[in-house]
Each structure stands twice: as C-alpha cells, then as structure tokens.
Assembly symmetry: C2
Homo-oligomer: 385 residues x 2
C-alpha cells in the first residue's frame, strides 16, 4: 500500500513536522550564547516534566548511555546494588552495574508482571547496616508491556539511605511521576520516546542526595562524568559536543509539550493503551500484561502459537505498511508488540486494529471482521474529552 | 547584517541542504531491513574512506565518546600507554586513559608544533620488554591548528607490538591517510567534521590486531562494548538504539563524498588552509602553526596583544555574523581560530578575510584595505583546477 508507514514501535516514534523543521536549522556554535539560551530553556522544561527541583544532565547517547552514566556517577565498584527486574531492560541495567564492578543482587519478578514493592521492603529491612547503596528499577518495561508503580516503590524504600535509580526511558511523561515527592533520586530517559524526536539524547535527572553520592563515587568515567557536566553547565555549555540538531528538535518538542500539557499527554497515552487492549481482548488474543500494570506506551500480545508472531508482523508490514515490534530473547515469535508512544494518532491505532483483523483472518484465525474495531471505537468515543 | 551566519568553526560545520532533507525522513525501525541496508552501505563507504579492510563501529556519541570507546575496548587497567600530545585534544585522550586506570606516560610537544616521530621511536627502542600496549596520537590538533604526519609515526613504531590509536576526529578525510598501509590500528572520527552532518555520531575503525587486543581487554564497559557491537552487526543492527536521523544524514553525506571524490575533498581542504594562511600573513598577523604542519581544517591566529582575540571575534560576530572559534585554556583571548572544515565555500573564506581587514582597521591595527584579500584571491586563482 502506498503512503507513509505506520510506525508503531515503543520508540523511535513518529516525528512531528515542526520538530523536523526545527532539526533542519543551521548549525550554531555550541559554545555561544544561542546555544546557552536553548540549553537553559530545555533544562528548565525538563525539570518541570520530572517535577523536580534537582538537576538535569544531557548526554549525546541512546538511553542505555544514560543508564551507564547513572552507574558510573553514583555507584562505586564493590558497592552493593539491588536490581529489580521483570524483563529485558531491567536485566540490562543489572548487567551494566555488574560490568562496572557493583555487587548486584538481582530480584527478579516474572516477565509480564509488575514488581512487588513489599518484597523490596523486606529486602531492605534485612539490610540493617545499610550496605545496599542503590536500587535499580524500571518504570516501564518495554519488553513485556508493563509499568511499575514508582510511588509505592519509593514508599517501600522509606528511610533506607540507598539511592532509588529509575530507568524511565520509555515511560517518562506518559505515566504520572513526581520525582521529588516520590523520593526518586535518579531518573533516566531518552529522546526517541515521549519526546517525539529521533534517538541520540539521553537525559539524567538527579537530586542532591545523588549528588552527594557522586562526590564519593569512584566509578571509572570521562565521557559521562557529572562533575564535568556541572562545570560546563555553569557556562551554559556541555562537557562534550552536543548533538545540536537533536537539541533543536527537543526544544521544539518541549514547546509542544507545554501547549498540550503534561496531564493531557499522560491521559492521551492511557487512551492509546485502552483502545488497543479492548480491541485485542475482543479478538480473543492473550495480553501479556494484566490490566492493573498495563503499560500506556506498549502492548505485548501473544500470537496464536500455530501462526507465530513474526508471520503476523511480516504480513502487517507487507500488506499494510504497519511496523510492529517483535518479542525479544525468549519471547521472539511468541509476542508482537504495539508501540503507542509519542506522536501517534488514535485513529491510526484503530486502522492498525482493522489491519490486524484482516491479517489474522487471512491466516485462518477466526475473526468477526469489524468486531474488535467496533470495541476500539467505543473505547475511543469514551475517551474524547 | 542580515543573511545566514558564516559558521567558521572546526566543527560543527555547515550542513548541506540535501543532508538536512535526508535527516528529515520519517523514522524507521532500527531493527528492520531498511536500517540494515543503510548501515551496511555506511560501513562499506567508511572503510573506503579509511582505506582499511578492517572493521567499523559506530556509536551514538560525540567524538570524545569514540576516544573513550577505544580506551575501554583496547586498553586494560594497568596497561602502560604512551600518550603523544601537543594540545588540548592530545591531553584529553591521555586523561581518558588515566581515568580508566591505564599507566600513562605523557610525551608532550610544544603547543603549535607537530610531534617528532624520532622521539617516539627512541621511547620504543628503550621499551625492550614491550610493556607499552598502546600509543595515543592526534592526527589534527584543533586547539592549535597543526596536524601530525601519521605515516612517519607509523614508521617510527616499526615492529613494536603496541597498538597505534589515532584521534582523527577533526582530520579524517581532510588529510591523506592510509590506515592499513600506515599500520594505524584504531582510528576515531566524528560526524560534525568532514562528514558535514551534525554532532552525535562517533566512528571507530579498527583492525585485526586491535580486535585481538580487545579479546583480552578488561576495560570496564557496556555502552561501548565492541563485542556487543560486532554481535549485533551480524544481524545488520546496532547494539544500542542508533541516532537514526544522523544515520540518514551520514548516508547522504557519504553519497556526496563519492560524487566529489576523497582526493578532491582533501585538496579542497588544503586550498582552504592556503587561502586563509596567505591572507593572514599579508595582514602581518602571527600564525600559530608552521607551514609544514599547518592543519587543513583550522587556522589559529595570534591576535595583536593590545587588541585581544575575543574583541576581534565579538566584532566579527556582531558586525558580519561571522562565527570564529576562540582559544582554549591558556590560549583564551590570545588566539582566534578560523575553522575551514566540511561544507565551506572558498569565497566565504575570502569574505571573512575582508571582514577581518575591516575589523582590525576599526580597532586601530594598520591595514591596507583589500591587500590581504588580494593575496587570498591570488591563492584561490592558483588552486582552481
């Protein structure tokens, strides 16, 4: 089929035209006043989105770089770290900490489930000497389509002095989050998610408690060094050359954020999720995440085993120019994932459900054409405000 | 003055319109076939530019990230490293190696001079047990405007087993280089230089000898890990999310490279240098680099001390919308730097010389208006082929 691709991934997301135009502006001197004004604007807006009075560091990197930055700036080799995971990205963060010499205790929850704050609480109660220096959690586990309740996790940690470090790469600004009120010490995010710009920028928000830990941290670093970031920021500069075109895009995206309003962005993503999930249920397919922890940015769906997820993805791509994500690692060919993150139109989700109906029907799965679409429309109708 | 800015920095450089348009293409799945085809094309073209049969790794990062990647992939903590420096960027690479635990012996040459391969040779002759594992050199020292003769440095190393690792960030594709023939083992570059695209991509070329060193390297890493890069590359993917818009730009820039031809690009940069230097000499200002090692991408000029470099830069910016770089560290206010790198027109350099004449004249420096411009024109006339 002709026409633009439907890019339904949990990042990168479609890019708004005005962001593309902003990214096409001529280069500027990244050590000059124009850049400084832009950088300071971006940082203030990012603080507002995080709901923090803490600080922001921006790295030329993918989100994974932001996770590495958090480890080398706040965790010293030998430090004990509690890593809470229920998927690929939770595991990745544990692995980064291990590679940099942390003593990582992994607390794993079944894939497709959110983490249980009570278990974290019990672990910390036993840590009477406060040996645990940091707790790594994932806000939104893209590999399985669940999100974790950061507020409860913050409460479970209570007065334990460990830093609570959050991978919010695919969740920030799509799920309610109050960094200061919920005692989140470090929060990592990336540009190609809710920010609607291409990959290449990692963002790290951190508070005073994290900064105090940084002062005594012996993690090996140069590129990610927060001390250098802070020194240059005083001059309105970055410690390494910034990806200027992506900064232009981020600046424009943040203006769009302000126009729409953070609460509206969060409820828009909730609506995406609800549209997709009610349609998938109507199709009789199994969802990986339970309702109470279902991610607003990505929905993982078990394919009928006799068909396989990759066959469905291939047909959706070939016949309708719809790009869905596959399953990672053990989930390959078992699940397909609808990304509904960033600059996505509700009606494109409805169209994709329609395409899924046709696709499933063509490979012999029993489908009542139009039925799941009608459920999606009912859900969409409810959600129009 | 109205009109586009003259951006005369040693990076970022002006971006060609067709590169901007390429960067505006819609996002694609970075785990899909479209990306794979682009990645494989880019890597083949990059190999040709390096003149290597070795391999290429691409990181979402500024050039400094590429330097860190080289250290953590090829140098283990405790390894002895020889760092050859005559400026800010040479020093930076030594510092990165030190931060990651290498035992760095610094061999410093005066700023504004190229390094003497004979001294490197003598150091290596004394290293009879081959304790030195790597030698760090800078191809083009942006802070002072000199370049080093990598061929002679390669010859000076001879059969010593140390890896020769080159920071070619601001020099690649503007100075003759034959990676395989000259025994360069690791070569780092960045997107915002000769490649004429915005910052955000670091490139690391490496050969089999480097890969063998990597196999035994205990440098702490995750984000930069070459083993992961190579594993994903087999599937036509990157180990972390790639900055897709910059890849689109790089692909287009590499097509432009092929159209112009590498030899022509190198001679174009040599012409830039010659135009600027003959005009500066005609103005009676002192150049930081001697003729034999003068960089083709950036020219550092001593300002008359009673005027100061920053005053000149401010006036050039305010009156003519020309952006020049300043001096770094101890050179602040002493030198200004003409960047002539990437997508620059020769006549823009002539125009900037004209603006410099007027600026100097207005602050009381004796200028025969038009004299240095005429010298620049004579040089330009010579160089038209």
């Amino acid at each position: 089929m002709v026409g633009d691709q439907y890019l339904l991934l949990p990042g990168p997301t479609p890019i708004p035209d005005r962001v593309k135009r902003a990214m096409s502006k001529p280069m500027i001197n990244h050590r000059g006043m124009e850049f400084r004004i832009m950088l300071e604007y971006i940082i203030e807006e990012l603080k507002a989105i995080h709901k923090t009075k803490g600080d922001i560091a921006i790295f030329p990197a993918s989100g994974t770089g932001g996770l590495e930055a958090a480890i080398v700036n706040f965790v010293s080799p030998g430090d004990k770290v509690l890593s809470i995971s229920s998927g690929v990205f939770g595991d990745r963060w544990a692995e980064i900490a291990e590679n940099f010499g942390a003593q990582v205790e992994r607390v794993d929850f079944p894939w497709g489930q959110s983490v249980d704050p009570q278990i974290i609480k019990e672990k910390l109660i036993k840590d009477t000497n406060a040996n645990i220096k940091a707790i790594l959690v994932t806000q939104n586990e893209t590999s399985t389509g669940i999100y974790n309740d950061l507020k409860s996790i913050g409460e479970a940690i209570g007065s334990h002095p460990a830093l609570l470090m959050v991978d919010a790469i695919s969740g920030l600004a799509t799920i309610d989050m109050d960094m200061d009120d919920w005692n989140l010490d470090v929060v990592i995010s990336g540009s190609q998610k809710a920010f609607m710009i291409p990959p290449g920028i990692a963002i790290m928000a951190y508070n005073k408690k994290a900064l105090a830990a940084h002062a005594n941290c012996s993690g090996p670093r140069f590129y990610w060094d927060l001390t250098a970031v802070r020194k240059y920021l005083e001059k309105g500069q970055t410690s390494v050359t910034p990806p200027i075109s992506l900064y232009f895009g981020l600046e424009e995206a943040l203006i769009m954020f302000k126009e729409e309003g953070l609460e509206n962005i969060i409820s828009r993503h909730r609506n995406y999720r609800d549209i997709v999930r009610c349609a998938i249920k109507a199709l009789g397919l199994e969802l990986m995440a339970a309702d109470h922890c279902a991610s607003p940015t990505v929905t993982a769906v078990f394919a009928p085993p006799d068909i396989g997820a990759n066959k469905i993805r291939e047909m959706m791509y070939k016949d309708f120019n719809i790009v869905l994500a596959g399953g990672q690692q053990n989930l390959d060919n078992k699940i397909f994932r609808f990304g509904h993150l960033g600059y996505v139109r509700e009606l494109d989700l409805v169209a994709s459900i329609a395409a899924l109906e046709i696709t499933l029907s063509r490979v012999g799965y029993p489908v009542n054409l139009g039925h799941s679409v009608s459920k999606a429309l009912e859900c969409l109708k409810e959600n129009i405000t």
